[in-house]
Symmetry: none
Subunit: 475 residues, 2 copies
Amino acid sequence: MTTSEHLPGSSDLSAHLDRAGAEAELFELLRIPSVSADPSHVPDMARAADFLRAKLETLGFTVRVDATSHTGKGGQTVAGHPVVFAEKQVDASKPTVMIYGHYDVQPEAPLEEWVSPPFEPTVRNGRVYARGSTDDKGQAYAHVRGVELLLSQGALPVNVKFLLEGEEEVGSPSLAAYLRANVEALKADVIVISDGSRFAPDVPTVTYGLRGLSYVEIHVQGANRDLHSGSYGGAAPNPINALAEIIAKLKDDQGRVTIPGFYDGVEEITPAEREMWAKLPQDDAAFAASIDVPALPGEAGYSVLERLWARPTLDVNGIWGGYQGEGSKTVIAAKAGAKVSMRLVPGQDPERITQLITDYVPTIAPAGVKVEVKSLHGGQPIKVDADSPFVQAAGRALKRVYNRDAAFARTGGSIPIVADFRSILGAPVLLVDFGLNEDAPHSPNESFALEDYHNGILTGAYLLQELGQVGESEQ
Amino acid sequence: MTTSEHLPGSSDLSAHLDRAGAEAELFELLRIPSVSADPSHVPDMARAADFLRAKLETLGFTVRVDATSHTGKGGQTVAGHPVVFAEKQVDASKPTVMIYGHYDVQPEAPLEEWVSPPFEPTVRNGRVYARGSTDDKGQAYAHVRGVELLLSQGALPVNVKFLLEGEEEVGSPSLAAYLRANVEALKADVIVISDGSRFAPDVPTVTYGLRGLSYVEIHVQGANRDLHSGSYGGAAPNPINALAEIIAKLKDDQGRVTIPGFYDGVEEITPAEREMWAKLPQDDAAFAASIDVPALPGEAGYSVLERLWARPTLDVNGIWGGYQGEGSKTVIAAKAGAKVSMRLVPGQDPERITQLITDYVPTIAPAGVKVEVKSLHGGQPIKVDADSPFVQAAGRALKRVYNRDAAFARTGGSIPIVADFRSILGAPVLLVDFGLNEDAPHSPNESFALEDYHNGILTGAYLLQELGQVGESEQ
């Protein structure tokens, strides 16, 4: 650890870390199967929210567990998962920092691929394996423990708010309304989010750009019932073949998306960004080897990092139809479907892109089938000013933990709510991630290195110290 | 009824039909719940076999009830249901006709949908309702009564064998071994099967061709684990997109299969067949309406019937990969798979076709994924020469019953045992069906029109007369 002699109370906090306590508490949270996508887990969502409420109250926060809701497709009001909102005001002259995180997790399927049960945190080789360990319980809870660490050494250097939601993994459908209804309470000078991966194990990273998202489902209907492939094969439309044809037509042989208008307005990568990223320790061969693939296919004319961070994509996330069991069943299915998502970049609007694909798919469907495109969710792409004092403060905090310069990067993922924070709350967002891609978020055997968790706690604490030094004039 | 004055003893047999007796006896057989799939019905299987043995013995047949067995998945020997084999030799210079049928029936579930109990034959509107009434007890027993009818008027015009099995509804697992073990006893000049539906209510049909089958599974592997589509989208290979691309490439925009060599050797539809099928009362619009589709897509240049009966096809029967649950999961799956089957026509060999697709798929896979093609099963296509004296004899027999020209059709499905008869016994097969689709075989309220049953008895009798006229030289 470096010392930062210009900061009051900047002694090395790592000596005061309660590692065992921090781990035990996180594991307790990880044991709650708070899968937001699955209605059967509604009670677990409430349990997770209550766990956070209780903890933050012990730290002297004023905590609310707020019910949420959003408008469903049919115009009806749909109950959402609760938001945990906590605040601790220390000095009106100090900046207010709001930490956003989410306590919901991805579904655990496929369960059979987990080495240890997804909701029984298990430590192997210095990593805790559990659904939500890195995304986002582990990273969000590091901030809670960072605040606790600072409090154990004195007062907080800034006013702190926590906004912990339970719907991030289902697209945060209720959050925008919640923000709008609570603009005053949620007022902050800067919002900090740790919900992703740093560039590399030894490259602490501040992220200033995120891709957006348009996520749709394509439904293809053939006959009104499953048919015998002997009696009907050669005349009945096959919705699975049709779906495959539609999907294949959505990209050309250069890896470009074929939807008319898809690239309109896309912000080009600047020469400065190209140069900065080219200097990062990116090893494409090692990247390919890390996921055991012989090639990294993608849009022609762009480096791998450029494609991941600043170019839009289209991926099928799921597909189904017909007989999926053992052996052979000679059936022509009545219907088939796929989930298709597009990562978007600055200059693209999710609603417009969703409309474009909705209009386009029927035009490329083969004869005999009916198709329907259903919008599931979207998120705005985002880019923040890399020169802002908050970004620079985050860089300094990271240097104190990792003893090396932070990288300034973008990321390929989407955090739709970042755009809402920008547009509704008017606050800039800092992304300071403690995780790594190898944590396998969204996959079986998701994990989080305990060292990263503890460094996250330290980073959270130092970041609040550094942000406490940012004068009003600098903001 | 027409008269066939060139035939000795060709008086109108319908005058000698014992309708009440034929019905009473069939109903007795229908009362035995010989469900082959359900082990609790093993005693009923034995009762049904014994019923047939006793009846055929009264007709002067030498009857064997043979135990059967087959090899289970684990390599163990599994006991099968008995085969009833009967023969009546009349004149070594005459052809030998073997009639194949099955005395086992589908399970009756869902029982609550039956209007009258499935094993209590009940007549309503000229139809007998009972499980097995059309499939296949009614159709098979029509042949038994046809023989009895001929015997009541004199001697049999041919040598007759009956092969009545008890495992058709569970895939005839023991039959191939039984055929191999009894090749000599089962020797026949022609095999007659009545176990399906004729073309239309007023179209008596001789079916002389069946399609074959090659059924494979395609497995596509991308990364070694599921990936987050934000972090990896744009660089990681996507096995679902790759699978869609592979499937789309398996057919061209004319509906033709693109696998090199796929059409090599395919027997073209003859001008005579084209003309014959064009005359059938096939209504494409009604066919499309019956399955509620706006078009009947398929290979360019062929009519619907031609495509269904005499052209090979490729259909995906099932597909899977990634997230199939509710809502959106932003995942790039590690793997995807599909079941793909090809209906084959004379001139195509299932093993060769399976090899062709196995070799071809890897060549059309996009970069970054690994593919594997696994053979599930195959079946030989079958065609009897439409001009053969047997087919012509069947046509004449039908004309004597229905007083109209029979249709000579093929069918799009596959009957694996027909290929076994061909390859193991070396005998051509005639499909002369007395049933109709509306009999609802395999469904609740299965029925058989009594008129169709009696016409089946007459057809069986006339068919043996006509086959008796086929000289050795003609065969």
